[in-house]
């Protein structure tokens, strides 16, 4: 069993939730999202973010607008759609429940 792969698989499930959560605080450019994730040690490479944003956008959870930039090509600034907000609410609740359950089991195992 490849431990790194297992960790990546586990992270994958929560990355989308985190992107939505970060965007719930307002419009953001991908680099801003990466910064927040890096601080939380969640995302290692930027290349991971772009496919996720595209999928979330295609699923109707995100939308973007083009903003001119002085340091290169125009940038995409992303925001949550109403569907995205609903999705985030449900997913955060589900994540918290799951977290409590898993903690309970892990704690029981480590204490025994």
């Amino acid at each position: 069993m490849d431990i790194e792969n297992s960790k990546a698989q586990m992270r994958k499930g929560v990355l989308e939730l985190c992107i939505l959560a970060i965007l719930s605080k307002g419009e953001k450019y991908p680099s801003d999202i990466i910064e927040v994730m890096k601080e939380a040690h969640l995302l290692i490479v930027e290349g991971t973010l772009y496919p996720l944003l595209t999928r979330l956008k295609n699923d109707g959870l995100l939308t973007y607008r083009w903003v001119e930039s002085t340091s290169g090509p125009p940038r995409k600034y992303f925001t949550l759609t109403d569907d995205g907000k609903k999705f985030l609410d449900e997913m955060s609740a589900a994540y918290r429940e799951l977290n409590v359950s898993v903690d309970k089991i892990l704690n029981a195992v480590t204490q025994s």
Binding site: S31, I44, V45, T48, S71, G72, P74
Partner: protein
């Protein structure tokens, strides 16, 4: 003294060292193979391309005008090699047709085998630029050197 090549990244012109170009080209090819879902591939790659253009612009600054190998190595480390991205993007969102992204692995092996050919049929500068257009999957707009 090094040869340089003119390229277009997300609508921005860049002059890049030949060797650096080779690495960057292979990198984009590897990414293209990685993102096999056609409806997403174009958008993901153009987002990445735009980011590469932005980082190059910032790195070059006002002191030099040519993108070098260091810049390309830097952007690849920032963006991640295709295999670094793999673990997190392999499975498409639920409900989508699953392409065989897991049945083969795309390994970025650095600058290697692919040869760059001039295109004598559409030449401006000895066919170098139009050769580039063929060889790039990107919307390479030939500029004047």
């Amino acid at each position: 003294m090094k040869k340089t090549i003119n390229i277009n990244l997300a609508g921005q012109p860049f002059i890049i060292d030949e060797q650096a170009f080779d690495i960057l080209h292979h990198y984009f090819e590897a990414l293209k193979q990685k993102f096999t879902n056609e409806s997403e591939q174009k958008e993901i790659l153009s987002d990445i391309e735009a980011r590469v253009a932005e980082v190059f612009t910032q790195r070059i600054g006002k002191t030099r005008s040519v993108v070098n190998e260091e810049d390309v190595v830097y952007i690849i480390s920032l963006m991640g090699r295709p295999e670094d991205i793999a673990g997190e993007t392999e499975s498409p969102a639920a409900g989508q047709e699953t392409k065989s992204t897991t049945s083969f692995s795309t390994t970025y092996t650095g600058p290697a085998e692919k040869k760059f050919f001039r295109d004598p049929d559409n030449k401006k500068v000895g066919g170098v630029i139009s050769g580039l257009c063929h060889y790039f999957g990107w919307a390479t707009r030939p500029g004047y050197v």
